[in-house]
Symmetry: C2
Subunit: 196 residues, 2 copies
Amino acid sequence: MARPRLSEDTRRRLLEVSAAQFLRQGYHGTGIKDLLDRVEIPKGSFYNYFPSKEALGVATIEYTARCTAAALTSAFDGAPDPLSGVRAFFESLLAHFEDNDFTGGCLLANLACELDDSETCRVAISVAYRQWRDGLAGPLAAAQAAGTVRDDVPAEELADTLIEAWEGAVIRMKVDRSAAPLRRCMRLLLDGYLRP
Amino acid sequence: MARPRLSEDTRRRLLEVSAAQFLRQGYHGTGIKDLLDRVEIPKGSFYNYFPSKEALGVATIEYTARCTAAALTSAFDGAPDPLSGVRAFFESLLAHFEDNDFTGGCLLANLACELDDSETCRVAISVAYRQWRDGLAGPLAAAQAAGTVRDDVPAEELADTLIEAWEGAVIRMKVDRSAAPLRRCMRLLLDGYLRP
C-alpha cells in the first residue's frame, strides 16, 4: 500500500479542534465524525493521523501541555522577575477564562475527572501536570534565591500546591461562573502563603 | 390515574447506584437502563421517582452533599477539638480513596468538569460546594477563637482554599494513582498555611 500523504497542518488543526470539543463536550461526548466535519477531511483519513480515538486523546493532552509551556514562556519572557512571571502566567489564564465566560475550565482536569478507563490518557495527564509543575518550580526556585518566595518548602512542592489550588479554584469558577475563586487563590497563596 | 406507590428505599438505592456509576463512568457514560437493572426496577417506574436524567443528576449531587455533611459530623463528633476534627475529616476521605485504589475521585469535581450543558446541575454543584465550605468554616472559626488557626484570613476563605487545594490534589491523586498529593496538601496547608 502506498503511504498516505500526511499534512502537519491537518494534524495541528485536528488537535486544535479536539481540544476545543473535548473541553466543550467531554471526551466521551465528542465523536470523531464531528471532529472530521469541522476540519473538513474524510473519515477514512483520520486513522492516517491517529490509530484510535484514545491516541487522539493522548495527543490532545500533549498538545495542551505544549500550550501551557508556551503560556509559561510568554509570561516569563515579558516579566521583570520570576515571581512577576508566575503572576503574569496565572493572570493570562484568568483572562482566557473571562473571555470564555468561565465555561470550559482546564482540559487536563476535565479529562482526569472523566477518564478512569484509559491508562494511556491517565499517564499522559500525569506527565502533563509534572511538566507544568516543573515549568513553575524553576522560576519559584529563582524567586526563593532572590528572597521573594519562602524557602522553607521545596520549590517543587510550592508549585504542586499552587497548581492544585488553582485547579480546584477553576472548578469552583465553573460552577459559580465567577472569577472570585481564582482571585482568592492568587491573593491567599501567591501573594500570601508563598511569601517569606 | 392512580398515583404510583413510591418507595423511599428504592429512591435511596437509585441515588446510591447513580452516585457510584456517575463516579465510575461519568454522567453521559451512564444509561438509565443500567441504573434500573442494578436497582432491579422496571424502566417505566424510573420516571415516578425522577422526571428526567437531569433531575436524577441534581438529586445525586444533593445526595453527595448529604454524604459530605455526614462525614463532617462524624469527624467532628469523635474529635477532641475543631482542628483535629478538620484533620479527621480529610483523613477519612483519604482512607476512602485508598480503599478504591485512588480511582473515582470526587463526584462533585467530576460532574463540574463534565457538565457545562446543565444549568440545574451546575447550580446544585455550586450549592454543594458552599455547604461543604460552611461545614468546614464553622470549626475553623472555632479553631481561630481557640488560637490554633491563623485569624488574619476569614474562616470561610480558609475553608474555600483548603477545599479547592484538596480537590486539585484529588485530581493529581487520580492521575498519579498515589496518596502523595493528598498528604502534601494536608502537610503544607492544614499543618502549615492554616497555623497562626
